[in-house]
Symmetry: C2
Subunit: 137 residues, 2 copies
Amino acid sequence: MGEVRGFIRRTKQREVILRVLRSTRCHPTAEWVYQQVRRELPHVSLGTVYRNLRILSETGEVLELRYSKSYSRFDGVATNHYHFVCERCGRVEDVPMPVHEKMDRAVEQLMGVQVRQHRLEFYGLCARCLAADANSR
Amino acid sequence: MGEVRGFIRRTKQREVILRVLRSTRCHPTAEWVYQQVRRELPHVSLGTVYRNLRILSETGEVLELRYSKSYSRFDGVATNHYHFVCERCGRVEDVPMPVHEKMDRAVEQLMGVQVRQHRLEFYGLCARCLAADANSR
DNA sequence: ATAAATGCAAAGCATTTGCAACCAT
DNA sequence: ATGGTTGCAAATGCTTTGCATTTAT
């Protein structure tokens, strides 16, 4: 699947992409990253952005999050944490809750598998959309 | 986004699609469902399968699961439950563990949002792949 | 009778890839 | 100099959609 890469060169493009990703908490799409990177490197191509997002997820420097929309979002914080997704506006927020690694062990016992990690997402209405609801009522 | 539907007619196609989905625990792709349905309705079109999978997720009769692969998988069991995904062979299994609704309330308190549901997935190696590993060692 | 649903094929759209030029090592 | 990386554009592949026709109600 993922091809084996020899060594990885340091390039301006990848550097900027990673910096953009780490400087936001908005869980952006590839397109958004592309637009940001373009402000600094106007000739960067969308293909390069995708290629690097892929490489960075493979090396574990960023997290790729695929939701029920048709595109991925990326997270510059690669350590496992939970997300909240607003079903109305699509906003993705981090959930300030510790990761329950015990659950991994429980599933291993239960199913005879080996668990490396888990992913937990909450779906509902964000504070902003709730407030909008309250106002229009 | 989802268009509002008047009433929904009962059709042979949708009936078979739902039956196929409910008769397996393998969390199939749209393509797999299509192939199965074709055995019974040779002239069914892939478009119809997609259309109905969409309708059935919208009405909550099936669950659409989007993983890091490029395609969706569907689950004929629509009540919330957890999944285990094998990172080697791609197999998706149900996790026989009760759903922790308390977590939803905790996140609501923590973030001031409204949580409707959550989704929890475990990633690792399934029992079969572990066994294969042990044999080849 | 009426409008939802279908089959078919074309279109959409996010993502990937082939290739010649480029550049980090 | 070597081969990883880029920009560009074409290709891919899952999914959606337009339309004429069929079919459930």
